[in-house]
């Protein structure tokens, strides 16, 4: 999982030097563009706060629009990071090591983008703290039976635990940064961030225990988050939403789109930072396979949705599925979704396509478009109320679209900053993958173990 010829020293140097060398020109250009896109978000949110929710296309009967579509989309993308850092760790998938750091960063930044939408949709986000249970002079408490309140707990816990997991992973790497600093200022900054990490054997023992427990805690957590997000729909007594398939297929879809985003991020990192030794072709192949597997689960979910609507023999379910969703006003979007998430991933069966970086990159983009369409198609169930007189149609406005574009600015700006100032690959875990990291109890340290490396 690491290209041959690397030592403890070279692994550290390779990752640390990205930060301690001069800023590459490409980084400046990329960050400048992202930062400009971020300004679109600033303008859009300011206008929304000034003018009110009316600047968006939402109205009755479609009271949720781009805001929840993008909320679910972003939060789904985050799930791959936790899957890589926690679930693959528990399954002893050592190849996760080189991609977990930036995948976790991706999680945090995607959840930050997602969190903006419900806050903005409140109309009065300065009262966002009303969502939290706290003793107040109005003597009010939240309504704990509501999935929207569960969301508050799920998303805030998810963000907090992901942040803790990420920071804990960074501490020993901050120490490596501190120890290789040649100037006083970075030594001071990384020294403070490393909180004085020395790498004592008992410290490592507690550290590894803590890391493993965090992985064990994050695993059910990540499954719960998208389950609860799907409850926002599935608990509602509405045809097309009130389905038990929602939680599993939302979770599978989240991991599916998240891996697509990890591939989209790993490809440029491999190229521009010369990290092909660490993020090898095998990594890309494995990620493509996970994408294929979860993609099939998602496609199965679409099939079950359609079948259950038919099998329920309920005319509202059948009408919704056929006359609204599949052949309705946004029927084209449904077929585009089937194309993106049903047919395109089938290409990943072929090794030649999985090992073609450019194709994999494009497929990943298509997958994320497909996952966005999925949430949009689900949302558009709201268009046809039960009385034709109260039917309506949803169309995003300029500000809906500009807010969505703007969140890419936030996401990419944060990612660029992350690549510049933090070690983008976990240094100490990479060393664990080298054969010389193993203790030889009776030998003389000459015969290396088979190169499978790494354990926790």
């Amino acid at each position: 999982m690491v290209a041959p010829g690397h030592s403890f020293e070279s692994v550290t140097k390779k990752i640390v030097d990205v930060i301690y060398s001069a800023t590459p020109k490409g980084w400046v250009i990329g960050f400048a563009i992202s930062f400009m896109i971020l300004q679109i978000l600033a303008v859009s949110v300011s206008w929304l706060l000034y003018e009110g929710i009316g600047v968006w296309g939402v109205n009755i009967p479609v009271g949720w629009g781009f805001d929840i579509v993008n909320f679910v989309w972003w939060i789904g993308i985050g799930h791959a990071g936790t899957l890589i850092s926690a679930i693959l760790l528990l399954f002893h998938q050592t190849w996760r090591t080189s991609i977990n750091r930036f995948a976790e960063a991706m999680t945090l930044f995607a959840v930050a983008c997602a969190g903006l939408y419900p806050l903005a949709h409140m109309g009065r986000p300065w009262f966002a703290y009303w969502l939290l249970p706290y003793p107040n002079t109005m003597q009010l408490w939240p309504q704990f039976r509501s999935p929207l309140e569960w969301d508050v707990f799920a998303v805030s816990t998810y963000f907090t635990v992901s942040l803790l997991f990420w920071l804990v992973g960074l501490v020993p790497d901050f120490a490596a940064m501190r120890d290789r600093a040649t100037h006083a200022i970075p030594r001071f900054i990384y020294g403070v961030l490393s909180i004085g990490w020395r790498g004592g054997s008992m410290h490592w023992h507690r550290y590894e225990t803590a890391y493993l427990m965090l992985a064990g805690l994050s695993t059910p957590l990540v499954l719960s988050v998208h389950t609860i997000v799907s409850f926002d729909f599935a608990v509602g007594n509405l045809p097309g939403w009130h389905a038990t398939i929602f939680p599993p297929y939302f979770v599978a879809g989240a991991i599916y789109s998240g891996f697509a985003m990890v591939i989209n991020l790993a490809t440029p990192i491999r190229h521009f930072y010369g990290m092909k030794d660490f993020i090898t072709d095998k990594h890309m192949d494995n990620m493509a396979k996970i994408m294929l597997a979860t993609g099939l689960m998602v496609f199965y979910g679409y099939g079950v949705e359609a079948f259950m609507a038919y099998y329920s023999a309920n005319e509202y379910e059948r009408d919704l599925m056929m006359k609204n969703r599949i052949f309705g006003p946004y029927g084209n979007f449904y077929w585009a979704l089937i194309f993106c998430n049903g047919f395109i991933p089938q290409l990943l069966w072929f090794k030649s396509i999985r090992s073609n970086e450019a194709l994999l990159f494009i497929i990943s983009i298509i997958v994320n478009i497909g996952m966005w369409l999925e949430r949009f198609v689900i949302l558009m169930s709201l268009q046809r109320d039960f009385m034709p007189s109260s039917w309506g149609q949803y169309c995003p406005t300029f500000w809906d679209i500009s807010t969505y574009v703007g969140t890419f600015g936030l996401f990419l700006s944060l990612l660029f900053l992350f690549c510049r100032v933090l070690p983008m690959i976990s240094i100490f875990e990479m060393k664990h993958l080298l054969p010389e990291s193993h203790v030889h109890h009776h030998g003389h340290g000459e015969h290396a173990h088979a190169g499978q490396g790494g354990h926790h």
Partner: protein, 193 residues
């Protein structure tokens, strides 16, 4: 007059491979040293046992952290929703009650209360894990005598260190120095306190 000798934190020996540090720690423990610690750039299998440490009690702390999280969410939801049994009424202050009739569901809708209970259990466990680990390890501690050893900065890159502390009962400068030299370290230095 002779200048007073600088106080010592201990003696530190530098090694090149994980195997060497584990063997060195075992030998030092066999020789009767207790107050020592081995330092490595990444976790080395069973090194803490070679040095003589026992398993951490962290998981027990985390269990209680998780229980506190669960009970917090459980009581928060049950009490504020007015779902507690009536004999508890005198013990629950009025500001902590906000019974709501949501579509005729019972005040104690315990099934609907599970998601926040689960989330707070995870949240409190995670906090206990991270801060328990850091506090048990004595962090944050930005200064440590070992940082004065010139070569010690490589403890985060590629070198392994065994430090026998001067507070150990068996510690005497000459004898311990001789012992550590017998382990064939790459380097051996005194750690000023």
């Amino acid at each position: 007059m002779e200048a007073p000798k600088p106080k010592l934190y201990g003696l530190v020996a530098q090694f090149n491979t994980p195997t060497e540090i584990v063997e060195a720690a075992q030998k030092a423990r066999d020789a009767g040293y207790k107050k020592m610690e081995a330092y490595s750039p990444f976790p080395v299998e069973d090194l803490h046992e070679a040095v003589g440490f026992k398993r951490t009690k962290l998981p027990i702390l985390v269990f209680f952290g998780g229980m506190v999280g669960f009970l917090t969410a459980f009581s928060l939801e049950t009490f504020t929703s007015g779902g507690a049994p009536s004999f508890m009424d005198p013990f629950i202050p009025d500001w902590f009650k906000y019974p709501m009739n949501i579509g005729g569901r019972p005040l104690n809708s315990w099934i609907a209360f599970i998601p926040p209970e689960f989330e707070l259990t995870v949240l409190f466990s995670a906090f206990t894990t991270v801060f328990g680990m850091l506090l048990l390890n004595g962090y944050p501690r930005l200064y440590h005598p070992l940082f004065n050893v010139p070569g010690f900065s490589r403890a985060s890159t590629d070198k392994f260190f065994l430090c026998i502390e001067s507070t150990d009962d068996k510690f005497d400068l000459q004898g311990t120095k001789q012992f550590l030299e017998g382990l064939n370290p790459e380097e051996l230095s005194e750690v000023p306190a």
